[in-house]
């Protein structure tokens, strides 16, 4: 499954606009300690976090994550979105909770 397909399944909004390339989602990762994500997230994972700080973009780039998913309808700063667009990182926003996102992903075979 790729990022736009997962986004559709989640009923999410792609906050960073149409992705320049279609990236495959190879797993899920959920954590809000960025240092932890930098140590344990696996390449290609979709990362669920409540953080909207600019640093999430750098972490996603560094770990080569497939996308960032912001749960619970949290608003994302314009600065973070702009940086993500610049770096080619896709950010999805959804009203679902982290648990619900994982359930949908699991049902999709991720």
């Amino acid at each position: 499954m790729n990022v736009p397909e997962l986004s559709e399944k989640l009923g999410a909004r792609i906050l960073t606009g149409e992705p320049a390339q279609v990236i495959k989602v190879e797993g899920m990762y959920c954590c809000d300690l960025l240092s932890w994500v930098m140590s344990y997230a696996k390449k290609g994972s979709a990362w669920i976090t409540v953080h909207t700080h600019l640093n999430i973009v750098a972490v996603a780039t560094l770990m080569e994550l497939s996308c960032i998913i912001i749960p619970d309808g949290i608003e994302v700063d314009e600065t973070t979105i702009r940086k993500a667009v610049k770096e080619g990182v896709t950010i999805l926003g959804t009203k679902l909770s982290a648990y619900e996102i994982c359930c949908v992903a699991h049902d999709c075979g991720i």
Binding site: D32, L33, L34, S35, H53, L54, V59
Partner: protein, 241 residues
């Protein structure tokens, strides 16, 4: 000249601190320990600064008004101010950014506000142990506008630390010093974090009880023994005030 400092001390206003962390006890213990400078840094509040400031003045101890702010990312920042008035201004901003939750003193502890004779004059009813709506960047720019300095607290610890929560120091924060916790191995920290070599480090006690206040073990090179000199040393941006 080098002066002995402890820039992270909690009073009985912090729910997690011992209730004998009174203004006079803190100042007298700092004197016994031989410190030259202390800062009072309660969680998200400045309500005991006035009392501690008066006690410190009486005993000839240099006092830096402060606060341990919790940002929206749950990062703890030691915010230090040139005077109590600036800190009180910060408190107004922080209180408007704190969620309106009542403190549960049976769970978290009481939040005592005292005068300079250690008399309890009020109790803070609002829950202070909580993240505010201020981002690290917003907090930094407010403190800077108020002429103060910011030191990210206990960056070596696994929680409420800017390194743990945000992975690395965000670009655009003009920080000069990082705080390491009392038992941090400074050499080991330097080896693990070579990227932080450009920052100064200061070890503070984060004392929640009297015994934990530092002895003469952390020193700052100051142009003179004053609060302004401490802020100036910790923040190279001070000259823009």
């Amino acid at each position: 000249m080098k002066y002995a400092v402890d820039l992270h001390i909690h009073s009985a206003l912090s729910p997690c601190a011992d209730k004998d962390m009174t203004p006079n006890n803190i100042v007298n213990m700092a004197k016994i320990k031989g410190l030259d400078v202390i800062a009072l840094t309660d969680h998200n509040s400045c309500a005991n600064l006035k009392a501690v400031s008066k006690c410190a003045e009486r005993s000839g101890l240099v006092f830096v008004p402060g606060m341990e702010l919790e940002t929206s990312e749950e990062v703890h920042l030691i915010c230090l101010f040139p005077d109590v008035a600036a800190a009180v201004e910060m408190q107004c901003i922080v209180y408007s950014a704190l969620p309106h939750m009542a403190n549960r003193d049976d769970i978290f502890g009481r939040q005592l506000i005292m005068d300079e004779t250690d008399r309890v004059i009020a109790e803070e009813s609002r829950m202070l142990l909580s993240a505010t709506a201020l981002t690290s960047e917003e907090a930094y720019s407010v403190v800077r506008r108020l002429g103060g300095a910011v030191i990210p607290a206990h960056v070596d610890r696994p929680s409420n630390s800017i390194l743990a929560n945000l992975g690395f120091i965000p670009e655009g924060l003009g920080l000069k010093y990082l705080e390491l916790s009392k038992y941090c191995d400074r050499v080991h920290f330097g080896v693990v974090h070579p990227e932080l070599g450009g920052y100064g480090t200061v070890i503070s006690s984060d004392a929640h009880d009297l015994g934990s206040i530092l002895e003469r073990e952390t020193f700052l090179e100051l142009s003179e023994l004053s609060c302004d000199a401490v802020i100036g040393c910790l923040s190279d941006l001070y000259k823009f005030r």
